[in-house]
């Protein structure tokens, strides 16, 4: 698709992750993983639990070391965490001592923007996630869904080169989750930030993404790359009613089921004496 000379936004080449454990010796959680995310692309990473998808995201963020291989953002190798890669976690990571407004503005501390400009940006993104009315509330006073909306605003406001999202809606109830998916869809279609999104929810991955990488069971590798050829702008109801959606869903679920079964066999094989 992209044949220009500019390097892709994110490129991972033959990445390995090996943990050294006291009891079992070396544990290979990721083996030879390679993938690419292009500018303005929304890419999801799905796979059976324990396949290392969150670990990979942490490696891209620079919060987890790379045992072997190379991860590059804009052609530069990832060596440490930095403000060019924004992050949204599954757990609530707003600072409880700051109001919603202050939490989002916290992300602009290093921006060097004048105060007035900062405030403007913060308000803009709070509006994007529909929380301008709650700008003076403390996180403790918000529901889980609202907190994650603030976290998304915080991750967007300082305009990182790419956004890393680690099951951001995983802790939410089913209804809130659907609303949040629609909201993210809307926000993303306006912002077009490059996103790498980790989830175990296949429908969520298809709805949001341009491409989906399906991972194998541990040690994690890319099993298949699935292109989501659904038109944009998308919406929850219409997109999920599309026949292509059902086809993609069935295909990816089959892939994951194969791997999940493998994991189960591995585990029971290990547990039985």
């Amino acid at each position: 698709m992209n044949t220009t000379a500019t390097p892709p936004k994110l490129q991972a080449r033959n990445v390995w992750k090996v943990f050294r454990t006291a009891s079992k010796g070396q544990l290979v959680v990721m083996q030879d993983l390679s993938l690419v995310v292009h500018q303005n692309e929304f890419v999801s990473l799905v796979g059976p639990s324990g396949c290392g998808k969150s670990t990979f995201l942490m490696m891209v963020a620079g919060l987890e070391s790379i045992t072997r291989g190379l991860i590059q953002v804009d052609g530069q190798p990832v060596l440490a965490p930095g403000a060019d890669r924004g992050m949204v976690f599954q757990s609530y990571t707003l600072f409880p001592w700051l109001t919603v407004f202050e939490n989002v503005r916290f992300a602009l501390r290093k921006s060097g923007l004048p105060r007035q400009e900062q405030d403007q940006q913060v308000l803009h993104y709070l509006e994007r996630v529909g929380l301008q009315a709650f700008k003076d509330a403390y996180p403790n006073q918000l529901s889980g869904g609202m907190r994650q909306r603030v976290a998304i605003a915080r991750a967007l406001v300082y305009k990182p080169k790419m956004l890393l999202m680690d099951e951001p809606f995983g802790a939410l109830d089913a209804q809130t989750r659907l609303l949040m998916q629609e909201l993210l869809l809307q926000v993303w279609e306006m912002e077009r930030t490059t996103v790498l999104f980790v989830t175990h929810d296949v429908e969520e991955a298809i709805l949001l993404s341009d491409r989906v990488y399906v991972m194998t069971a541990r040690p994690g590798r890319i099993k298949e790359e699935v292109v989501v050829d659904l038109p944009r702008p998308r919406s929850l109801l219409e997109t999920e009613a599309d026949v292509r959606f059902a086809r993609l869903r069935k295909h990816i679920l089959t892939l994951i089921r194969e791997e999940a079964r493998l994991t189960m066999e591995q585990e029971t094989g290990m547990n039985t004496p």
Binding site: A61, F89, S91, F95, W97, L98, N140
Partner: protein, 276 residues
């Protein structure tokens, strides 16, 4: 099918006092606490009024009250409270001034935890009371000896509590701050310490309470002024009402400091409250 559903208004709900982990009306809660204190005082009055217990062992509440007025008038009470409070505050401040930076280092950096914890654990199990004779040998019976005892009794626990206050700061707070471009020291200052502050404030409240215990222990053994000294002297002359007054005053002072910390906690950390 059930006529009561339409005809009768909502029936007054019976107050259930003994549901497992159940809520009760606030008035009941306060009344229960007040009546227990009332019953205690009543029992005390009755026991002494009918001469069931000799005043040498348990004086009447009235005798204690009289002792209070006489001590207030002579200024002894004030003098003792002042002397004891001074020792507590200085002793606790010395302990805290050291426990705070060391605890913060231990909570943030495994190296410092490894460096200090084994030694700290060793000393922590040595009873502070057993140091009294040694400290008298070192520092005499003046204020310095009280500071040392309070320090020994408080510091080695306080440092571990502050370490824990720092350790329970969620890992994700640190990780997200790195992705926002902050460096290690900025994160330590603006995120880790900020997040640990309410817990540390609670540690201050708890350790100051312990400081009272150790102060009285030190004063009981050797002093010439102070609440503990007053209690010890009264025992020699069988002035039981003075002993009881001393114990009560210490209790009230402890309660007041505790309350002061709780009020400042709510003022300092309004965001800890959940309700809106």
């Amino acid at each position: 099918m059930n006529q009561s559903q339409e005809s009768t208004p909502v029936p007054a709900r019976r107050v259930r006092l003994f549901e497992l982990h159940g809520e009760i009306p606030h008035g009941y809660y306060l009344a229960a606490g007040a009546s227990f204190i009332g019953i205690f005082l009543l029992g005390w009055t009755l026991l002494t009024a009918f001469g069931l217990i000799s005043p040498i062992f348990l004086p009447s509440p009235l005798a204690v009250l009289q002792e209070l007025t006489s001590q207030v008038q002579s200024g002894i009470l004030w003098q003792d409270v002042l002397a004891s409070s001074y020792r507590i505050i200085v002793g606790w401040l010395i302990s805290t001034a050291l426990a705070l930076p060391i605890g913060i280092l231990m909570g943030n950096f495994r190296f410092f935890e490894g460096l200090f914890e084994p030694f700290n654990d060793l000393v922590r199990y040595m009873p502070a009371v057993a140091f009294v004779p040694l400290t008298i040998l070192w520092a005499g019976v003046g204020d310095t000896q009280k500071f040392i005892i309070i320090f020994i009794g408080t510091f080695f626990q306080e440092v571990l509590m502050i370490m824990d206050n720092v350790k329970i700061v969620p890992r994700e707070f640190i990780q997200i701050s790195y992705t926002l471009g902050l460096n290690k020291w900025e994160i330590l200052r603006s995120v880790v310490l900020r997040s640990a502050f309410p817990g540390i404030w609670d540690t201050f409240r708890i350790t100051l309470g312990w400081a009272w215990t150790y102060l009285v222990v030190a004063e009981l053994v050797a002093a010439n002024v102070g609440l503990g000294y007053r209690i010890m002297r009264a025992q020699r002359f069988l002035e039981t009402e003075t002993i009881i007054l001393g114990i009560l005053v210490i209790g009230v002072l402890g309660l007041v400091t505790d309350y002061a910390f709780k009020i400042t906690y709510n003022l300092l950390f309004p965001w800890m409250r959940r309700t809106r």
